[in-house]
């Protein structure tokens, strides 16, 4: 009867699948490699001389659709060059509201805020998920985790004159 042959077919399909290697892996023991462009968390970068890139222009705060960035601008002399320029003090980014849209990375004029390709984003307390300036700069110092995208790269992709041979 059709029932019997179809049932046997289903049974053997599942048997075949069960004898293959499972697709899932146990996460902390085995971390699979993600794409180079993965965007998960954030970092603030410093330029090669060691000076903070962020000039406190507040463009990221204004563009964020979820309003999760808050920063205050101060003007103070740079520890590297000595000239007075804008800095951000009290930069907080609340990851709990962030929708990872990358718009803040896109608008930054100095490539200061970038995304981090990090899978260890979860935390145990709510404070772990509010990125403060020291956490953001700590992320930025950790070069291997930085993401592919920063404002320059994204602007280059969206350049109307791009050739792309």
């Amino acid at each position: 009867m059709l029932y019997l042959t179809a049932t046997l077919h289903s049974l053997f399909s599942t048997l075949r699948e069960s004898l293959k290697k499972p697709t899932t892996v146990e996460y902390p023991k085995f971390v699979r490699t993600r794409a180079p462009r993965l965007r998960a968390s954030f970092a603030l970068t410093k330029d090669p001389a060691g000076d903070e890139n962020c000039i406190g222009c507040k463009k990221c705060e204004k563009v964020c659709p979820s309003e999760v960035i808050a920063l205050t601008t101060t003007k103070k002399p740079s520890p590297i060059t000595g000239k007075s320029r804008g800095y951000a003090s009290d930069f907080t980014l609340n990851l709990q509201g962030c929708i990872i849209c990358e718009l803040c990375v896109q608008v930054c004029p100095t490539d200061a805020i970038v995304m981090v390709k990090d899978q260890q984003v979860p935390g145990f307390t709510r404070e772990d998920l509010v990125l403060t300036m020291d956490k953001l700069y700590a992320n930025g110092d950790n070069k291997p985790r930085l993401a592919w995208a920063n404002a320059s790269v994204l602007s280059e992709h969206q350049n109307p004159e791009r050739k792309n041979a």
Partner: protein, 327 residues
């Protein structure tokens, strides 16, 4: 100690206690096996964290279930609500009393063993329906009604196909049936052709009786949340889950005793054969569960009354004719 074993009452009691212990332990680890098997079928690992390869997962589940809050809905009939789970488990375990584990070990050597086993497994739809009725929940009520309809319908082909070995051996006692199979050949092979169909029919109807997919419409999770047991929490739900697995295992053991020769087999001790056969059938039950979709309730009823009942009646008739002429 030997005097204890001579007295048939005490012997039966001891065997029964041993059987219940083994069954309940098996039921706990069957959930581990089911989850691991399901995982492998679905291309994922099953439980892996608790104990090596997740073997202590049933302990974790039991502990979790013990510490949950016991909720009885306000509109529920609380006496019936509380009665249903232990009654289900009792009926599922009581069916095992007549299973011959080894030639000497049998909790209760009843002359009407088959009748007893089928009667008790048929009674199982009753406490589940009571659970559905007393829950004051429409989903549970629907599930309970479906359970009753399915349970009493599939009783008929189950009994009729179980009667095939009875007619061949001429005895309702399970230990006699197994002894007959030990001395002749297994009843799945005789009557030739009929035995195998009777075995398949008994297997299918016991799937339906224990609410396994493809017949699990009473507790269809995607429609009725959890069916008759929706409102049950904590250990009450644990008793229902254990009863379902216990009923499955006992049905597999019954099928192996009736058709596959029970403890009969070369080289290995009889108890190992009984366990192996039961385990093989249970693996088949699990395998079917994770491969098939479920039948709708009216299709289920149509399958039973339009196909299985006539086939089982025909089988019984043919068996009678064969016994008469071929002896």
């Amino acid at each position: 100690m030997a005097e204890l074993l001579v007295n048939p009452w005490l012997r039966g009691l001891l065997h029964g206690a041993l059987l219940i212990t083994v069954l309940m332990t098996a039921v706990a680890w069957i959930s581990w096996f089911e989850r691991k098997f399901a995982g492998r079928v679905q291309s994922r690992l099953g439980p892996t964290m608790v104990g090596p390869s997740g073997l202590l997962q049933p302990l974790a589940d039991a502990l979790k279930m013990f510490q949950k809050e016991d909720i009885i809905p306000r509109g529920a009939d609380s006496r019936l609500f509380r009665l249903a789970p232990p009654l289900t488990l009792f009926l599922a375990l009581a069916t095992a009393a007549v299973l011959p584990i080894t030639p000497g070990m049998l909790a209760s050597d009843l002359d009407i063993g088959v009748l007893y086993a089928l009667a008790f497994s048929g009674l199982l739809s009753f406490p589940i329906w009571v659970a559905g009725w007393s829950s004051a929940n429409k989903y549970a009520l629907l599930g309970g009604m479906r359970m009753v309809a399915q349970g009493i319908s599939y009783e008929i082909p189950m009994v009729l196909s179980a009667l095939v070995p009875v007619v061949v051996t001429g005895s309702l006692s399970l230990s006699d049936i197994v002894k007959y199979q030990a001395s002749h050949h297994w009843l799945v092979f005789s009557p030739p052709g009929i035995g195998i169909v009777a075995f398949l029919l008994f297997f299918t109807t016991s799937l339906a009786e224990s609410n396994r997919i493809p017949f699990d419409i009473p507790e269809a999770e995607s429609e009725l949340v959890a069916g008759p047991t929706t409102e049950y929490t904590a250990i009450r739900f644990g008793l229902f889950a254990s009863a379902e697995y216990a009923h499955s295992v006992v049905s597999c053991a019954l099928a192996s005793a009736l058709f596959l020769g029970g403890w009969d087999g070369p080289w290995l001790p009889p108890v190992v054969w009984m366990l192996l056969k039961t385990a093989a059938l249970f693996i088949l039950v699990t395998w079917v569960r994770w491969s098939l979709l479920r039948l709708r309730s009216d299709q289920l009823m149509a399958l039973c009354w339009k196909y299985l009942v006539p086939v089982s009646l025909g089988l019984l008739l043919l068996t009678g004719v064969w016994v008469h002429f071929a002896g």
